[in-house]
Symmetry: C2
Subunit: 363 residues, 2 copies
């Protein structure tokens, strides 16, 4: 009997071919164990999105946490039945390398700590998912990619929308030119955020305000819709309230030029709510509003509604896909290289806003 047939008859996903190191003695009839994920940083996103998603994942599970707050450690341990040995703080984090329950470290820390904890996780021999934006700059991204490559672990960026059905449809319509080639895109994301104590408004921790936090969505929406990487950008930065936005832009608008001639126009802002994507191909168009939020999109087009059942947590698919890429030993879809591309674009956008110049981008 071939391995695939065996696994199939054992009721396992046909796509799920575990390596022996992962299922600890393959060719048994018991279902393979799920890969263990440790969440690093227990803020809103871990609490309200990732932890619930990890209760529904097929190929991975919440196995550990890393937190600097003992009270959080306690409540998470109780809520999710996490053994004490799988709970780490930022001092003893390195010890995670000896923990065979943990296969994946998911870095959900402020942007300034992405590079450090991704590299520390790689050195501990763990696969890594790092939240977006991948890092503060291109140099950090390169270091992270190199560290994971050298450690022989896989690296992914938390691009949940790579697995969201409305965004997959936008990508299909754009890249397969279903309505013709996309000529213009508009992507916008913003919300009201005026609390200077939030790390996102701290230049050192967040890396530069709305463009770091929200820009990734607007960039990804445009570049995946067009199906190309931008080759030049212009950008404008604005601050309304300098007492709150001391050294970062509150609003950043940017325009991207694609090699095939398409143009995108984007808004990112901390002033107010906006969440839209629009693509136009000549006489036809498609779009999403809301577009980027975690709780579901609504789509429309010149051919009618774009409507899919939105799974409650896009992160279920995202994390299972990463687990699958580990199991299959393939390159993750939302790879570190993808994250690096976005940081190249973000760096160019920042430079364009600071200088008023049109900035070319090379990859």
């Amino acid at each position: 009997m071939h391995r695939r047939q065996f696994l199939s008859q054992a009721g396992l996903s046909s796509g799920l071919l575990l390596t022996s190191s992962l299922n600890r003695g393959s060719f048994s009839a018991t279902p393979p164990r799920k890969l263990g994920v440790a969440l690093v940083g227990l803020g809103n996103y871990s609490t309200h999105q990732l932890a619930p998603a990890l209760q529904e994942t097929s190929l991975c599970r919440l196995a550990g946490v890393v937190t600097g707050t003992p009270a959080k450690a306690e409540s998470w341990a109780k809520k999710y039945d996490i053994p004490e040995k799988n709970i780490y703080n930022y001092e003893n984090f390195e010890q995670i390398k000896y923990n065979t329950d943990i296969d994946i470290v998911y870095v959900v820390l402020p942007n300034s700590m992405h590079a450090e904890y991704t590299i520390r996780a790689a050195l501990a021999g763990k696969h890594v998912i790092c939240e977006k934006p991948m890092a503060l700059n291109v140099a950090e991204c390169k270091d992270m990619i190199a560290a994971c490559r050298e450690a022989g672990v896989k690296l992914s960026v938390g691009y949940r929308l790579y697995f969201e059905p409305h965004h997959l449809e936008v990508r299909r319509l754009g890249t397969e030119k279903i309505y013709g080639a996309v000529k213009m895109m508009e992507t916008s994301l913003g919300f009201s955020m005026a609390d200077p104590t939030v790390w996102r408004l701290n230049k050192k921790l967040g890396g530069g305000g709305a463009i770091m936090d929200l820009g990734v969505y607007a960039i990804q929406g445009a570049r995946r819709g067009v199906g190309e990487l931008p080759v030049a950008v212009t950008a404008q930065g604005y601050v309304r309230d300098k007492t709150i936005f001391k050294d970062i832009y509150e609003t950043m608008l940017f325009q991207m030029e694609f090699p095939g001639g398409a143009i995108s126009n984007s808004t990112t802002t901390y002033t107010s709510y906006v969440d839209r994507l629009y693509a136009t191909t000549g006489y036809r168009w498609f779009g999403l509003q809301p577009a980027f939020n975690a709780t579901g999109a609504t789509g429309d087009s010149s051919a009618g509604k774009i409507s899919f059942p939105t799974p409650p947590y896009q992160q279920i698919r995202q994390m299972d896909a990463f687990a699958q890429s580990i199991i299959d030993n393939t390159e993750p879809l939302a790879s570190g290289e993808e994250g690096l591309k976005d940081l190249r674009i973000i760096e160019a956008i920042k430079q364009a806003a600071d200088t008023g110049e049109r900035i070319k981008i090379e990859y």
Copy 2:
């Protein structure tokens, strides 16, 4: 009996107080005659929008035409029962001053001819509506305003959306701060236009492509939604096909800064279809899609749908309002001064795109 009471009892609109020169012997019980409109230029807009609208207007009517094409003159005369004496061409246009059937000249010519024909109409003693954009530049607008003032005639710009219910609602929501002060706006208008024989693509006739033709809508949408005039702009111009767009931008994106701190981001393009308006005030928002076209808008907001019965021709209200301002001797709502403001903004946008600089605007 007071004049107003008399007119009211005679079944006339209470707002309609005609001057004796207009109803030729007021205080008669017969309804006042409608003001006579002569359309100058019988292209698509005159044919499919203005002429049908003038069959429904209460205070004015289609009384004459000015055309360089005898066949058009003949078919219009037949279709709309226009006497031969009310049909002019571009050579004998000046004779219109002797025609008491014509009170208003409506200039529906290519942009480069707006100033010339507005001034010629004023010199002929006729009130003028000029299509948008009002002229090619600020200097022409000033000349037009001066000519009309000196001739003692009223001047209006063909801003039909000043009278469209969805746009009046956007203006109300914005200027009355129903959802709070507007902090960001996005306005976009574009369609596919790649025929170099069309006057709009000729720099001399059109004045500069999408920003002239479509920019007025995007500018007006933002400045009327915010309720302020922009004080500075940045802009970017793009051409995909230089064989078609020889000396004008095919796409122009622009960003406007308002004195209260609001920002707008706009797209105008001849590459492809886009027709959207969005305003956001913090946590709340309102928008239109389609927004600017002549056949009706669809609105949505954080508080639910924005829906009004769209009258078939917005121009009915527009032209009747102008007739009313003549009758009442008041300043037209869509005045020449409003048109001048938009040309100041357009000139700044063009300069910003050409130089890459942020351009301040003074009014």
